[in-house]
Amino acid sequence: MGRSGYNWGLMSINRFKSILSKEYRHIFREPRTLWMVFLSPAFVLIALSMVFTSGTTRVDLAVWDQDRTALSRQFIGTLTSDDDFSVRRISGYNDIESSLTARRIDAGVIIPPGFADTVQSGSTASIQVLLDGVDTLAAGEATGSLLGHASKFGAEVSQQYVLSPPSVQIRGQSAYLPESSDRDSMVPGLIPIVFSLPVIAAALALAREREKGTLETLVATPVRGLEYLGGKLIAYVSASLVGLLPVWLAASLLFNVPFRGNFVLLVVLTTDFLMASVGLAIVVGNIVHSQQAATVLSLLVFFVPAFFLSGLLEPIDTTDVIGTIVSYAMPSTHFVTICRAVFLKGASFLELWRPSLMLAALSVIWLTLGALTFRKEIA
């Protein structure tokens, strides 16, 4: 065997095993690190999922009734008839403006003076609505809800105005989640994000050896680069994979998210995802020289894109080529699709071949890049 320097040759099982056991010892030595690698995904998933309700959302409304007639009160009554709005009275335009600015209300409704007279004379009275347009999604929902209540009031009030059925009617249906629960949709989507915790631990483990100089000690031993990286990879992938069980238990038992797929498939594809992510983490760990820099870079690479680019909230717009390329280079993008499909759609492997293949390709790309950047650093 002898000192073969630091080249890429065939791997030696023995050397690989000793690196692996060293990595495991690093994880197991500190009980706190151990718990954090295994349990932090489940803990964070629980904390993140707690904020979602399965109920519907309410719109905070302020009403300025300038008319003060029975009819205007009836209009307000229509708004409060169900749980869509929480209504409070307000007087004055400035009150509405300042409440909107201070975000105390989502919308202000102004009923003009002479509202009842206009309606009783058979013509159309206009009601002004001032809406907080900052959150467009919430604003859109509030608009739809207000329009619906206004036409309901119209049908109640006017004898001549019969609410004819609309010519075109939409029968909307939400597939997989008929009762449209935010929580059921978000919990599987958050799983890739919570798994970035143990993955980033791998990036830091690599940066630590470089910062402390123990990497150079390793270079002096017959251990080869591939064996070293392989040991790191297997240690962190397997340690994170054990964390899947508490995550799955939290999702299914605590939050009652339906699990319609195959657990073995989930385990296999999670491994696929973890390989790609740890590969990316190795690249991050190779670029930097200190753990501090590794943390900053991991936050920028794993954290913000995971929320904004992964399709968790906004599905990826595939007509935007650059955006699609960047999103697809992130392992979490494909895993969001996979987790939602396995949990909610009960998808089989054949239906998930595309994201699975993408993840496999990403593992190869990132691991190769990791190996290449690693060699450069040592030379």
Binding site: T33, L48, T101, D135, T136, S167, V168, T295, V304, D317
Partner: protein, 437 residues
């Protein structure tokens, strides 16, 4: 005579006090200088701290946050009339949709959705066109949205309702000149007349990036000294606890504020989102926000023994804060208990402040609640960090201390009966216990 001495004493104690304060400032400045030197030595880290956040906001802002667009839609047109083609054209005109393919049956389209190729299906049954010509009947269109992404599914259904309403209006107008009905809503979107999504998401990204940078710098600065053993060296210098905390906090505050100002500049100049309120007030309120992260960072670095642990704590905290920030769900839509918990999230208050000042043009007076909460949180977290610092920086964890205190208590308890009953039984037991040690 007596009063003279008193005055003298008072004067000398005043002198003492000022001298002590000057001493402290001197030490703090020394530590802060060392921190800045360390930062400037690691050029790569400095680049990550200053340039990377800008790049990140540039990239994220350009690629994401533009709202939901071009959702892949499958059409199952079993009617095949002019009216049905008209409907499909109307759907295609919407920004939200992009027609991915035409299916022969619902089952076929459902299989596409199952594989994730389409996120919505429009089913037009036979007889749709015929129903339209009959004013007494209404023509029905079935829209199946992929509920596995709740946000997209809500947008899908809302957009198709819009299309249906538009078609109905057109048809009624062409049939007869029917009245509008007794009420009409004139809806004005304040602060965002064009209903653009970008300002909403860019402000969230800005707040999250400032948050994470401040947290990481603060958390790793002490954890690093601890892991390398240089913290003990610092502790034998005349630096007090408070000196240590302030000296460590100053560089983070500077980095956080510099990043904040650069990011705001980027938002205003590049993304063309004007800050409607006062930039000065916004910067002023960023200070307690960054200080709160310094408090968290210090606390994290005091309870973790390695930088790896500190990083895991940082990420866990960051995710929890994002969850409670109102970015994923508005705070008012959270379950009751979680709403209460979300008040502890500094990111939530800061997001309200940033959006309030930048997008709604709010003043400090309308934003006093989040401003005071932010100040309260930073004071509270700093207090916790200071208390943790008082417990001691040695390698003992809190758990070890508790275990030792418990053992100590147990030992005293077992000693008491042995004194009154020297029958040798409990003494033997103690003997046995002592053996392994």
């Amino acid at each position: 005579m007596k009063t003279m001495r008193k005055r003298n004493f008072a004067a000398s104690s005043m002198n003492n006090l000022t001298r002590r304060i000057v001493d402290h400032l001197h030490r703090i400045w020394g530590l802060a200088l060392k921190e800045f030197q360390q930062l400037s030595r690691d050029k790569l880290l400095l680049a990550f701290l200053i340039i990377a956040p800008l790049m990140e906001l540039l990239l994220m802002g350009a690629l994401a946050g533009g709202g939901i667009r071009n959702l892949p839609l499958a059409v199952v047109d079993q009617d095949r009339t002019r009216a049905s083609r008209d409907l499909v054209a109307k759907l295609e005109q919407r920004d939200e949709f992009r027609i991915m393919g035409y299916g022969d049956s619902v089952e076929e389209a459902r299989s596409w959705m199952q594989g994730g190729d389409v996120s919505a299906i429009a089913v037009i049954r036979p007889g749709y066109g015929a129903a339209l010509t009959d004013p007494a009947r209404s023509a029905q269109v079935q829209i199946i949205a992929d509920g596995s992404n709740q946000v997209a599914s809500t947008v899908t259904l809302a957009a198709s309702e819009d299309v249906a309403a538009e078609l109905s209006r057109d048809l009624v107008a062409s049939h007869q000149s029917a009245g509008k009905g007794p009420v009409e809503l004139r809806i004005v979107a304040r602060f965002n007349a064009a209903m653009e999504d970008q300002p909403h998401s860019i402000t969230a990204m800005l707040a999250i990036i400032v948050f994470e940078i401040a947290l990481v710098v603060a958390a790793q600065s002490i954890a690093r000294e601890r892991e390398n053993g240089t913290l003990e060296q610092l502790r034998v210098t005349p630096l007090g606890r408070l000196d240590l905390m302030i000296g460590k906090a100053l560089p983070t505050l500077v980095v956080g504020l510099v990043d904040f100002l650069l990011l705001v500049g980027l938002v205003v100049i590049w993304f063309d989102i004007p800050v409607r309120g006062s930039v000065f007030v916004l910067t002023l309120l960023t200070i307690p926000f960054v200080i709160a992260q310094i408090g968290w960072g210090t606390l994290i670095s005091l309870i973790s023994r390695t930088q790896q642990q500190a990083m895991l704590f940082v990420f866990a905290l960051a995710m929890v804060e994002v969850a409670f920030s109102g970015f994923l769900v508005p705070a008012s839509d959270m379950p009751g208990i979680m709403q209460a918990v979300s008040y502890v999230s500094s990111l939530q208050h800061y997001l309200v402040i940033v959006r309030g000042i930048a997008l709604r043009g709010a003043s400090l007076r309308t934003l006093w609640v989040p401003a005071v909460s932010l100040a309260g949180i930073s004071a509270g977290v700093l207090m916790l960090a200071w208390l943790r610092l008082r417990i001691g920086l040695d390698s003992d964890s809190l758990r070890q201390r508790l275990v030792r205190a418990w053992r100590h208590l147990g030992a005293r308890w077992s000693e008491r009966p042995s004194r009154s009953r020297p029958d040798g039984h409990s003494a033997k037991k103690r003997e046995l216990k002592r053996e392994p040690a």
